[in-house]
């Protein structure tokens, strides 16, 4: 992640970065170590515990010529500054008739897996998806973290960038050189005949693992990594469903009104006749996340649960 931020601070001197403990300390997840030394205290700035002030500062700076990156340490904390996100940043361009541009990124650690309990573990990308005026990105691989982050920072609209904290320890290839990806593009990670499994962020590796297992059971699954909820690459999803006839979504967020419901609904309206059976969402149940490892692991969708659900549904 530090690499992705550094790339953008390097690329454009209007880019600035602010948040709690991000500068001197290099971030609580150590994802911003070295940035202060390299870019100095004017461009990499520690803040008080004042999430509203952080995002307000980002917004005001974006209105007046900078391209801020603001960190909200855990995505749960978006709740304390939700007004700035949902009522100010999201709506200002629209309600001013297009006068105000807000090129800014809010990066935040999202989701469970680290046994942090209910107030530090939610997957809340659906909160952001529900708000018109926000773009919403949630990468699943280190390469996408860099490439989609660059795309987010260079985008002229506000982007909420959800980093799956369950994936932080993960490793993956990141090629040398500048990487800039494109928002609004899903990626087909595996092509199969029998069904389409659409997953996001921390659920992507689980969907892939499940697909491998399913292959052994004679079920050949396509796996789509959504990558970006807004803009949403409906074309890729609809094409895949047209090919396989069956849809599964794998969501980390609690059950109700997650992004999976949006995907299912789009398919149910626009590709109904291509479906050859029920569309099924696999989600965390509609509960806050528990802390103990046995409980947390049971709550979040696992590869095993995906396998089981797909097998039963198709079987």
């Amino acid at each position: 992640m530090a690499r992705g931020i550094a790339q953008e601070l390097e690329h454009d001197d209007r880019v600035v970065f602010l948040g709690e403990d991000v500068a001197s300390a290099g971030g609580v997840f150590k994802s911003t170590v070295g940035l202060l030394d390299r870019f100095g205290p004017r461009r990499v700035r520690d803040t008080p515990i004042s999430e509203q002030a952080i995002l307000g500062a980002a917004m005001g700076a974006a209105m007046t010529g900078l391209r801020p990156i603001a960190e909200i340490m855990f995505s749960d904390f978006l709740a304390v500054c939700w007004d700035i996100v949902a009522n100010e940043i999201a709506k200002t361009r629209y309600m001013t008739g297009g006068q105000v541009s807000l090129p800014l990124v809010i990066r935040t650690a999202n989701g469970g897996g680290l046994r942090f309990g209910a107030q530090h573990s939610q997957a809340v990308e659906n909160w952001a998806m529900a708000v018109p005026g926000l773009k919403v990105v949630a990468p699943a691989t280190p390469r996408d973290v860099v490439g989609l982050f660059a795309a987010a920072v260079r985008d002229p609209d506000p982007v909420i960038f959800f980093e799956a904290k369950g994936l932080y320890p993960g490793k993956g290839e990141v090629p040398d050189g500048e990487i800039v990806d494109e928002l609004g593009t899903a990626r087909v990670l595996r092509n199969g005949r029998d069904c389409t499994i659409v997953a996001l962020a921390a659920m992507v590796p689980r969907a892939l693992e499940a697909a491998e297992t399913l292959a052994g059971l004679g079920i050949d699954a396509t796996v789509v990594d959504v990558r970006s909820l807004v803009p949403l690459d409906t074309r890729t999803i609809l094409e895949s469903v047209a090919a396989t006839g069956r849809l599964f979504t794998v969501e980390e967020n609690p059950r109700l009104v997650g992004w999976g419901a949006e995907v299912v609904s789009i398919v149910a309206e626009e590709a109904w006749s291509e479906l050859s059976g029920p569309a099924v969402r696999i989600t965390t149940p509609h509960v806050p996340l528990p802390s103990a490892d046995a409980l947390e692991d049971h709550a979040r969708p696992s590869a095993a649960r995906i396998v089981e659900t797909v097998r039963k549904t198709l079987g």
């Binding site: 600035v16 803040t47 999430e51 509203q52 917004m59 007046t64 001013t96 008739g97 018109p132 002229p156």
Partner: protein, 343 residues
């Protein structure tokens, strides 16, 4: 509810400061534009031509006018839903303002924003915000941008007494002070938070001034109906910000003549409270002061007529404009001009 004299304010504004004649008249004209436009807007409500809600600053004009004149053209204004006066203070013409109130296509925001969201980036009027408190944090951001880019610009942020009790106020003040941002926070204390007297919901008598120490700032308490005192206070705060000494929190004591918003006749206020404050009307008393200090009434009359003409023209033009095209509903969600969230 304290009377003006309880607060240490004179019975009528003192007008003890001196400014040159041109500026003196500009301040007068500026206040008059605000007053007249808002009175007209009120008439149009009564004719049901202005829909939605609207919050008038009748009685509070001195604050907006003083800052408008004291600010540099490239300084930024951040206002609340009670933002008509602050918009005019930045030399925004009356017509697009009036058209916006009427929901016309020629409105400042093409009818998308309405009374509560007046914005004119061209005039560095950076928006009117309708959620209490939020824009204080946004003003910080503009100030931070000026600081980083070394442009010497100042962000000026207006809000009410009630706003001092919301969390964002506190966060914004602390950040501004800690980062020594070039921002001026102006609390227009009109003693009412909607229909609730501010002293019944606030732990200190002066909602802003009595809290400046919590941010390492000096208390600044000004007669907000004295346009000359306000001009001095504005100039001092802007100079301080521009010189790198950081923010100022100004509390300007004032009063709104009408209700909180369109729907409110303001009946909950005591007769003599209203009377005491009407006697302190910022425009009438200032006009009296100008005449008393030798300004030719003919010059004032000229301004009166001028403003009346501007207003009539603006009103007619706005009324004649068509409503916005419904296509606008799906415009300008994104920088590409559209509303599409998918391919």
């Amino acid at each position: 509810m304290p009377t003006p004299t309880d607060l240490g304010l004179p019975e009528t504004p003192a007008f003890a400061s001196r400014v040159d004649d041109e500026l003196a008249l500009r301040l007068y004209r500026s206040m008059l534009r605000m007053r007249r436009l808002e009175k007209r807007a009120y008439d149009l409500f009564l004719q049901n031509l202005v829909k939605g809600t609207s919050h008038l600053a009748l009685g509070q004009e001195a604050i907006a006018a003083a800052f408008g004149e004291a600010m540099r053209a490239d300084d930024w204004t951040f206002a609340t839903y009670r933002g008509h006066a602050h918009t005019l203070a930045r030399s925004v013409p009356m017509e697009p303002v009036m058209a916006e109130l009427l929901g016309r296509s020629t409105g400042l925001l093409s009818g998308k924003g309405g009374s509560m969201h007046l914005t004119s980036v061209e005039h560095h009027m950076m928006g009117s915000y309708a959620i209490v408190g939020a824009h204080l944090t946004v003003a910080n951001g503009a100030a931070w941008s000026a600081q980083l880019r070394g442009t010497d610009q100042v962000a000026v942020c207006f809000f009410g007494d009630g706003t001092t009790n919301i969390g964002a106020f506190h966060e914004a003040l602390n950040l501004a002070a800690t980062w020594r941002l070039p921002v001026v926070f102006v609390c227009e204390n009109n003693f009412w938070m909607e229909y609730t007297p501010i002293d019944t919901v606030t732990a200190v008598p002066r909602p802003a001034a009595d809290r400046s120490a919590a941010y390492g700032l000096e208390p600044v308490f000004v007669d907000g109906n004295d346009v000359l005192a306000m001009y001095d206070a504005a100039s001092a705060a802007l100079a301080r910000a521009r010189s790198g000494d950081g923010p100022t929190l100004v509390e300007a004591a004032t009063y709104r003549h009408g209700g909180h918003s369109r729907a409110d006749p303001g009946k909950y206020r005591a007769e003599d409270e209203i009377r005491a404050w009407l006697a302190r009307d910022p425009i009438d008393t200032y006009r009296g002061h100008l005449v008393a200090t030798g300004v030719d009434e003919a010059r004032l009359k000229e301004i009166d007529d001028d403003v009346a003409r501007e207003l009539d023209e603006a009103t007619e033009a706005a009324k004649a404009a068509p409503p916005p095209d419904v296509d606008l509903v799906e415009r300008d969600v994104w920088a590409d001009g559209g509303a599409s969230w998918r391919n």
